[in-house]
């Protein structure tokens, strides 16, 4: 379901009529496809009314439509504008802002906690955005909390400031509602695009699938032909391997594209660790070989172990490991 959010009944009236919405409670209307909510004026009304609705209904997308005031004289009255980023001013500017889903040429807007009735107030707000309303920031905050995509469209009703006539605006509500509906009906409803799932070319465990998804996403950002690359790798994978081994072989090969020295690094460290493994000891490295250190681990249950460890100390040279950390790998 999609959600239509209005501040005033006057703005919503044509929508209620033309979309054949039925009352579902105070200030709430619905049909099969839409929920329509009238929040009332101001951010606190939005917080009170919108939260429960977002919790109760399975909202896919939200749309706020209504009127806004212009804070710059370059903005034309009766023009429609989509909103890009919304800010808030409650006696002082709030730090948090929200950038809505939007098409090109959208404008910023600032939500004021008070009606803008003086030019001084308007000038202060105009430092942040060219449009002002009373509700959008709160709507955006709640939608953001629920990760619901939001778009907002505003009809510019007046120049905010000393010339604002709230009574006059109420008289024009029907006119605004009609214009908003006409505008709304001309909008191409963007199709909800599902993330196309990336399917691996062979059975994989959950962890392997996650790795495959991440690698695919990265490699597709490069200028390589991913399909051709994957095909080549698959052709080279030995048929006698188990399913798990085949998947790992594919993933390791893909990983080489994103880090061409990973295998060579591991091979070199494995080789340098051989003297340790021959006496039952283990050299434990940092996961990505990022830190220039390793831990030597060995169970001692015999004097022989200690003697072997002593001989190992003569064989292991830290400088050999340092060379690898410093990029001495054959690729």
């Amino acid at each position: 379901m999609n959600l239509l959010i209005f501040a005033h009944r006057g703005e919503a009236q044509e929508f209620i009529k033309n979309l054949a919405l039925k009352s579902a409670g105070k200030d709430l209307y619905l049909n099969e496809d839409f929920v329509l909510l009238i929040t009332g004026e101001g951010i606190y009304e939005v917080f009170t009314k919108l939260g429960p609705v977002l919790g109760e209904y399975p909202i896919k997308k939200a749309f706020n439509l209504g009127i806004a005031g212009a804070l710059e004289d370059t903005i034309g009255l009766d023009d429609f504008h989509e909103i890009k980023t919304v800010y808030c001013h409650t006696g002082r500017p709030l730090f948090q802002s929200f950038t809505l889903d939007h098409q090109k040429d959208a404008l910023d807007l600032i939500t004021s906690d008070e009606r803008v009735l003086s030019n001084t107030h308007a000038m202060k707000l105009s430092n942040f955005a060219p449009l002002v309303d009373r509700e959008l920031w709160a709507i955006a905050k709640l939608c953001n909390e629920k990760s619901i995509p939001l778009r907002s469209f505003k009809l510019i009703s007046d120049m905010a400031g000393g010339a604002t006539d709230c009574f006059d605006l109420k008289q024009k509500a029907m006119e605004f509602s009609t214009k908003l509906l006409e505008f709304w009906l001309t909008l191409e409803q963007p199709k909800h695009s599902e993330d196309s799932e990336v399917l691996p070319p062979m059975p994989m465990s959950f962890t392997q699938k996650a790795r495959y998804k991440a690698l695919t996403k990265s490699i597709k950002l490069s200028d390589l032909d991913f399909k051709a690359l994957e095909e080549n790798i698959l052709n080279d994978i030995g048929p006698s391997l188990t399913a798990k081994q085949k998947a790992n072989a594919l993933l390791d090969s893909l990983e080489l594209v994103t880090n061409p020295v990973k295998l060579a690094t591991k091979t070199k460290f494995d080789k340098l660790s051989t003297p340790a493994s021959e006496i039952g000891a283990k050299l434990i490295f940092d996961k990505s070989f990022e830190k220039k250190k390793f831990t030597l681990q060995m169970e001692i249950n015999d004097q022989k172990n200690i003697e072997n460890l002593s001989k190992l100390a003569d064989k292991l040279k830290f400088s050999d490991f340092e060379k690898v950390w410093n990029g001495d790998v054959d690729v």
Partner: protein
């Protein structure tokens, strides 16, 4: 370029302000008490710089010269950066400015004399040492230099203090003011370069590579000392081939022996900047390679990978005739 120009009230009579305003006749002008009563007060999305970029003209208060982190520049010498501006007109996808400030709006600080005074104080605190002062930490140091008039303001200080070194880091080709200034032995114009494909696809809105190389040539011909930064290097399959071509093209008209230093560095981010960059440029080719978060909360290529890349590029650079002692690796331990 700028939708609105905000000017601090105390700069109303500043002749530099009039000169700047004369270049932006279509911008709206507003006055305010302090630039930070608006700039940075709200979280303005980084990409809003594409559609509604504002300019603030202000005097910087407080500390104007700060110590730079280790491995910032040539080893063994003291490094500081000075704050002459916030934010940049270019849009490089890896830029740390996208996670650093709350607003992409440009701030130009006009109290250059105070900045020079603080540089003098810092220099006096390090007697008998070479002290570097880097411009371009939070902005490009030459891109808007033809309107700020700052180069002239600093030149005097550096001419009087040969122990102090000035580095002007830039991706710009704007040499309008630089070429009229007497070359000094302790002033370096250092140009950041990337291969053609990266310049086009990742260093958005910057001048094309050919133009940047021409600018280096011109600055060198005018007698200015030059540094070249190959930073950040972004890995791709053809990275070595592309850098080889880049190094070859430098030989055309630039005397590499006369270049004072070269630096090499791979792309790196703080976690915050990495997340911002992914949000702003999700399809950027710079995310094609493997990144890890290293112990210093820096997101970069794994150690052996970056060491491998830097070693190979260093060898290539030396192969093109650059002396090894002139090449330093940026931000690597």
């Amino acid at each position: 370029m700028f939708e609105t120009i905000f000017i601090e009230n105390e700069l109303k009579q500043n002749p530099r302000v009039d000169s700047i305003l004369s270049r932006f006749k279509n911008s709206r002008i507003k006055y305010l008490e302090r630039y930070d009563s608006v700039w940075g007060r709200v979280k303005k999305p980084y990409l809003s710089k594409r559609t509604n970029l504002n300019l603030f003209l202000a005097n910087k208060k407080g500390q104007l010269v700060k110590e730079a982190p280790n491995a910032y520049g040539v080893e063994g010498e003291k490094h500081f950066y000075f704050i002459h501006a916030f934010n940049c007109i270019y849009e490089c996808q890896y830029c740390y400015l996208q996670g650093y400030f709350n607003s992409p709006d440009v701030v130009l600080f006009l109290n250059h004399d105070e900045i020079a005074n603080q540089m003098q104080t810092v220099l006096d605190q390090h007697p008998e040492e070479t002290v570097w002062f880097h411009a371009g930490e939070f902005s490009d140091s030459l891109a808007l230099s033809h309107i700020t008039g700052e180069l002239e303001a600093y030149w005097d200080f550096f001419e009087k203090n040969p122990r102090a070194k000035l580095e002007l880091r830039t991706k710009s080709v704007n040499l309008k003011r630089l070429v009229h200034l007497k070359p000094l032995d302790n002033v370096y114009a250092s140009f950041s370069l990337s291969p053609e494909s990266a310049t086009k696809d990742i260093d958005l809105k910057t001048p094309p590579l050919k133009a940047r190389i021409a600018a280096i040539r011109k600055a060198q011909k005018n007698g200015h000392k030059i540094g070249i930064h190959f930073d950040p290097v972004i890995y791709k399959e053809s990275v070595f081939e592309e850098y080889n071509n880049l190094f070859s093209s430098l030989n055309d008209g630039i005397n590499l022996n006369e270049v004072s230093y070269f630096s090499l560095g791979v792309v790196r981010f703080t976690s915050q900047v990495y997340n911002e960059a992914k949000r702003n440029y999700p399809s950027s080719p710079m995310f094609a390679a493997q990144f890890i978060k290293s112990s210093e909360d820096i997101v970069r290529y794994p150690r052996t990978m970056r060491a491998w890349i830097l070693n190979k590029l260093k060898d290539q650079l030396i192969g093109h005739g650059v002396k090894e002692g002139k090449v330093y690796l940026c931000m690597e331990d």
